[in-house]
Symmetry: D4
Subunit: 250 residues, 8 copies
Amino acid sequence: MSSPNLRALLQAVQNGQMPIEAALGELDKQGPEENLGFAAVDHARAARQGFPEVIFGAGKTPEQTAGIAQSLAARGSTVLATRVSRAAFEATKKVLPGAIWHETARCLVVPGADSPRLEGRAGVLCAGTSDLPVADEAAVTLQTMGVEVFRANDIGVAGLHRLLGRLDDIKQCRALIVVAGMEGALPSVVAGLVSVPVVAVPTSVGYGAAFGGLAALLGMLNSCANGVAVVNIDNGFGAAAFVASMMRSS
Amino acid sequence: MSSPNLRALLQAVQNGQMPIEAALGELDKQGPEENLGFAAVDHARAARQGFPEVIFGAGKTPEQTAGIAQSLAARGSTVLATRVSRAAFEATKKVLPGAIWHETARCLVVPGADSPRLEGRAGVLCAGTSDLPVADEAAVTLQTMGVEVFRANDIGVAGLHRLLGRLDDIKQCRALIVVAGMEGALPSVVAGLVSVPVVAVPTSVGYGAAFGGLAALLGMLNSCANGVAVVNIDNGFGAAAFVASMMRSS
Amino acid sequence: MSSPNLRALLQAVQNGQMPIEAALGELDKQGPEENLGFAAVDHARAARQGFPEVIFGAGKTPEQTAGIAQSLAARGSTVLATRVSRAAFEATKKVLPGAIWHETARCLVVPGADSPRLEGRAGVLCAGTSDLPVADEAAVTLQTMGVEVFRANDIGVAGLHRLLGRLDDIKQCRALIVVAGMEGALPSVVAGLVSVPVVAVPTSVGYGAAFGGLAALLGMLNSCANGVAVVNIDNGFGAAAFVASMMRSS
Amino acid sequence: MSSPNLRALLQAVQNGQMPIEAALGELDKQGPEENLGFAAVDHARAARQGFPEVIFGAGKTPEQTAGIAQSLAARGSTVLATRVSRAAFEATKKVLPGAIWHETARCLVVPGADSPRLEGRAGVLCAGTSDLPVADEAAVTLQTMGVEVFRANDIGVAGLHRLLGRLDDIKQCRALIVVAGMEGALPSVVAGLVSVPVVAVPTSVGYGAAFGGLAALLGMLNSCANGVAVVNIDNGFGAAAFVASMMRSS
Amino acid sequence: MSSPNLRALLQAVQNGQMPIEAALGELDKQGPEENLGFAAVDHARAARQGFPEVIFGAGKTPEQTAGIAQSLAARGSTVLATRVSRAAFEATKKVLPGAIWHETARCLVVPGADSPRLEGRAGVLCAGTSDLPVADEAAVTLQTMGVEVFRANDIGVAGLHRLLGRLDDIKQCRALIVVAGMEGALPSVVAGLVSVPVVAVPTSVGYGAAFGGLAALLGMLNSCANGVAVVNIDNGFGAAAFVASMMRSS
Amino acid sequence: MSSPNLRALLQAVQNGQMPIEAALGELDKQGPEENLGFAAVDHARAARQGFPEVIFGAGKTPEQTAGIAQSLAARGSTVLATRVSRAAFEATKKVLPGAIWHETARCLVVPGADSPRLEGRAGVLCAGTSDLPVADEAAVTLQTMGVEVFRANDIGVAGLHRLLGRLDDIKQCRALIVVAGMEGALPSVVAGLVSVPVVAVPTSVGYGAAFGGLAALLGMLNSCANGVAVVNIDNGFGAAAFVASMMRSS
Amino acid sequence: MSSPNLRALLQAVQNGQMPIEAALGELDKQGPEENLGFAAVDHARAARQGFPEVIFGAGKTPEQTAGIAQSLAARGSTVLATRVSRAAFEATKKVLPGAIWHETARCLVVPGADSPRLEGRAGVLCAGTSDLPVADEAAVTLQTMGVEVFRANDIGVAGLHRLLGRLDDIKQCRALIVVAGMEGALPSVVAGLVSVPVVAVPTSVGYGAAFGGLAALLGMLNSCANGVAVVNIDNGFGAAAFVASMMRSS
Amino acid sequence: MSSPNLRALLQAVQNGQMPIEAALGELDKQGPEENLGFAAVDHARAARQGFPEVIFGAGKTPEQTAGIAQSLAARGSTVLATRVSRAAFEATKKVLPGAIWHETARCLVVPGADSPRLEGRAGVLCAGTSDLPVADEAAVTLQTMGVEVFRANDIGVAGLHRLLGRLDDIKQCRALIVVAGMEGALPSVVAGLVSVPVVAVPTSVGYGAAFGGLAALLGMLNSCANGVAVVNIDNGFGAAAFVASMMRSS
């Protein structure tokens, strides 16, 4: 709670406008959460960060995923869950019939009461066909968070004209998510041609000395072009959440 | 060159308004560069990316740094050079007396004809006193690129109240650069408390299993908080260039 | 055998109070073990370390696990086995009907003749729902070793108020086990807020550059907060055994 | 601030016993700090954690180290600084003539108003002569924090009788810090022989595939003996701080 | 488009010999591609690089592989797909009945209108029987690209006479692909005995500290013999594509 | 062929005692091999190294394993194959009914015409029950190569008396193979107590920061005790082959 | 010695045309070497591989470098030494006054009796000014081995037009050496635009997660473009030696 | 103390032949050591392991090295110290004038009362001139331990005839130490040609992806030849100590 608000609250207590219990309740709202035992759902996140808590499906049982989704939906929040198995989707569908399944992206969405709408278009580019699941995760996340998306697939640097031919569209985006595996050179090349920020997503596509995406990750972190920042390997969601926060902050 | 521009140029050639040599020259401007032998200075970068080429001083002789700086300044560009030794600064100062030296940041600046001014303030936070050189590099870069900067130093998670006490100022920034070494936990904690994007900069501060910044880098890439993207270890410049491109694109 | 005891024994031999065979037997008791061929069960461990040998179930056949359990139980020892498959539990249940199965924790317990009871409560905190199996292994181990446990789940740094809201309870523990995957920041933040020792357990929860728990492990080893020590990735048992030895030694 | 305290404070405000400014001040004390610009000294740490902020000297200028030391000493706190160069010691000595220099341990101490005294002795064991600086850092830290220390040097596993001959003394410690480089086997062997907790400190002593202490670190994390936790490579301070917090919490 | 060609085109536009639309079309041909949505097939590659785009089958669905193959075959191009599953082969066979399946090599080939034929023979040597799949991938690729192949299998350095006995044949090749796992010493030994270039292919054959081919890769990169260059682990295709480009360029 | 032998052969050719074809045949015997296409069986190995070629079963089809075994057995050689699947054993059993299967050791043996018998006993010690497959592979290899074996299982350093109680037997071995996973401390401790050479075998037993045996490997390479050499992770065969060559060379 | 030559030699011995000593001498020439004690100079290398032994200067004393150079020059061989310090150059200059020093390339050359001259031009491209020493080493090696060189410096992917503007010249080379640090993307982009083979040289230029050239190395090994092979980090010599062997073999 | 000896001692006590103090003294001799404070010199090592404690000079002050040397020499033991700086040699020379300095090997030797002499010759081979310091350390150690040494330098696999020409001498050794940097292929090739055991020593010679000897280490651990065991990078001493223990045990 910010200092001016705190002062106001104390004044309200002092002059009797606010009973102590109400003041305690108000202070409590700084951190409202719902304790499900296995999870402490963070209902304050939308107010604090502009979008409700997103469920990371990996390592959770279908019942846990469904339970958290229900807790969020009960307050009207938009539900987004990533890395969701078909079983978890089905468990959620039973309790939230409006749940939608994005198979390639492995994402589950339950639209909330009021969908956000942010200004400006973001581009999601990917280097190869095998990078599609990660690019789809980014695109679904952006759209669920209210960002319009431009897509360009399979435009890796081995055939540079495929990228150059789409430059006009790409330059009109306010931010770019560039997804690539193997040597991960695409973000560097794109960032050298445009003036908008590039969020690079390394993928685990490749083999041998790709070391599960490490080669692409290191390549992107060492980009010689300016305006590139990087998220975790295969983390299409993280890139999109970052871009959405950019959109919100401007 | 975008398709509509190309059509216009061809029409001008067709109807005789533009001589062939002029058209060739125009097409040439897509990639104007000055060849210094050891360097091919990219004079098109400001037009393409919003800021002139920045000199990466490491691994260059003082003469090479001074030579590139002179080539840029000759066209009125603002000169920014990072990782600059004192010797390289002095070599540059001889040919460009207006050169300014930021010692902790290891940056050299020669103000250009028209300084850019971008809207919105960026925060540069750092976890410990030993992270100051990297934070300074970020701050000098931001200011040279026209971004107003809010600073908060030594607010690492071992004494959380130091961060919490500055939250109101931090929340008013449009983007945050968060610099930390050791376990690199500060960006995660900050990102969990604000809604603006966080660009995390791992530093090589630490010892033993810090492995020269690797621990902090991995920590930041795996942040459980949303809205975090990462740049290379000790890359204060890269974080600032990314934030400046965000500011320009909105 | 300590020097005074040895002198006493030799005196007893010298003055005929103790026959040579008895003396040899006494010296033998320094290292009593039962040789099962595939295993040399260490029956001296409880005397030496305060708790009987614990069976590490991974890489053992169900028959081997059941055999060692039987050897321990035959002397009245409490049996604790970790990383136990359902098959190994069932094999053990056949020979030791009192065996209890903790499924999430993957632990098997056969209560011994006299259960230990240690003074002081230990806290087991975990950052996310996916860290529960490791936290459960720690809790089951602590309880089997006679330590009372306080639990708090899903209180990671992305929603700091969930931790802050439980601080009063946390501060009343004599030691804390803090379990986290991804960037593993929770132990640092907790240790900065309390004065009790924090045993950090990195988990393999995460993906990409989490590298199977390496990111969390490095983060915890480089904690900027004081009072943090670390055990192996996913080693809830090891953290609990350490805390129990702390409790015993005070 | 804990919930009961907060209620009391609000009641005092409500009934006029406490003016608003005083209440704000009280709330402020949650995070008292002194802002030196380059550092935000955490004066609340002793109250929160039982010992004042310790200065990590690496990467700080002599002036910065001296400045923080002065800020701490001004409030009567005991000053402990680790990884301190001779230059930093001399800079501090000028402003704090009572400063003491532990050369091998690279530690600087300025005794505070009231020295703490904790109950129980801790052992500091090291495997080889080359590990002495790390063991000394641990011992100086323990003593400064009020813990009595038992030392045993050069008792590595290549000559096991050197360890076995000191077992009686070792077993009388309440906790052990075991320092070793190369393969780092000593903590495992010690932990197999005693019932007290062992805090293992890997050192960067060794060469080739020791990889700067990585071999010892991994060995200690994978100890087959129970009751072992690990701190960062060469982190004698961290081990001692952990043991001191154990002593305080019992 | 090269400068002289561009001048000619502009002159043709200027003097009316070429309508603007035709000129735009001509400029367009720099980067002809077919957009399948999930893939942007690069039909310019044969003209640019001497061989049509090769399909990397890993991470693609059978339908995607078959679709790209069809797109290539429709223009008469030879189709080569590597890392192809049986399912992908069968999906392709349905739409392109002439598809041939090389099981050990995991390659699919559809012969094109005019098969290339390059001058000079290349050798494909492998160290052990377990390296055969990688060696076969190299051999199939070379043959599909028009290069005659000499094979020698299981001639690793543990039995040097097996290599020495084949030296005469080996020396008559214009280039050698040497495939080896484990310590990967064969390329060094071969390169020390011949004057032709050696393209080394590390394989993931081995276990333990082979780390999935890393040991062989590092060994080959550090070869003390001259004339060795290296491709990715298990990348028989890459080695063959490199050798084919050598054959084309002479 | 050694220089004196070569001179003798040339003299025999010169004076007509040896026809050219015979001389060529004699020179040929330097490297006799049988080419099976997928394998070049090295029949000279027993003469060169004291034991016939051993089949490394991993990565070979059952038919390939059986084929090489048949080729060796046809000349009366003892057949030893390691890392052999049950399927490969059964394929071999069909063509060589005398084949014996060691299940835990994953080894296949077909006794040859004359079994070797080497002087001196070797010890095979292992730290834990989970290390048994590797220790068994070493023991089967030693016995097949004619070395008598002493075994001691589950004598890891967590219960040191189990090792100390067997020291007398251990000291009577001419060489020791010491197998351990986790931190791999056993070889160091053993080597500190005996004067015979210790061949250390790290195993992949462990989890988390054991990194598949890397921790044990590094520990053994950095042993502070003298007289330790190391083989690859899980390479029981390699350790035994090394010890057998020691036995042969004395 | 090949089989037909051996038969001929034996026939010459049989029919008395060649005395035994001459035959021994002939057989000896397979491996002529000069033993300097600290070095065994391989004088057969030019005959075997097309160029005399090249001296790797690192880790040798100036006297050792000069001694080997003298041994080579005494037989009229061209001397090339890489990684040579100024001291080693001066020691060599004393005994071989014709020695030439390439400072940036750290190479020493003593022209031999007959300089080789190979057909075809090779390109040496580098991404940044800081990569010049490695590119120079490659260029000096190529020229010393008789290959004509085309150079293009500082044409990294951050300013793509610098590369595109030189494509016509680049395409006329028979092979390309592409030198780059940081993310090492240049070889991929070049290989996608040309049909000639690309030998990629990663450099240690960069910082942080560049890990001394590892990022660039991994990027190049995982290139998505065909026709790329890789040599060791900073190994300009190795790339050039490989290209020269290509030139010789065609 | 072995069981029969213990029984005898007890009988001697029982029948009064041995006073208790004498028995205690006898038991004490199991672990005689001299405590220098910074070091616990292990005077039992020669009896236990066949050679006195060897001083590892790295990380010790000159005074510490000299002190331990003096303690050993005082009992007539041969003194061997490795990794010794010139300063440490000079400090030792002052107190032990008979000290000898092997500069390249960085070893210090003080001959003891009776020099050991072991039967059988050992070979020390090295791949390149830059590996000489490590090979010299091995040779000095062997000779000091009483083993006769055969040397062959600079016989790496790039010029195989240099090795083949020395095979007759090499085969007459009872054991081989093979030292190599870069890719470390020499031990594999040697082990394929001989029947004696090969102890491989990787060196840190090389650059780039040699990673300080890691490439050679991994190569040697993965040797496809039988009869190879490995010691730490640059550990010439360790290899020699292992070979000496082999010689002693036969």
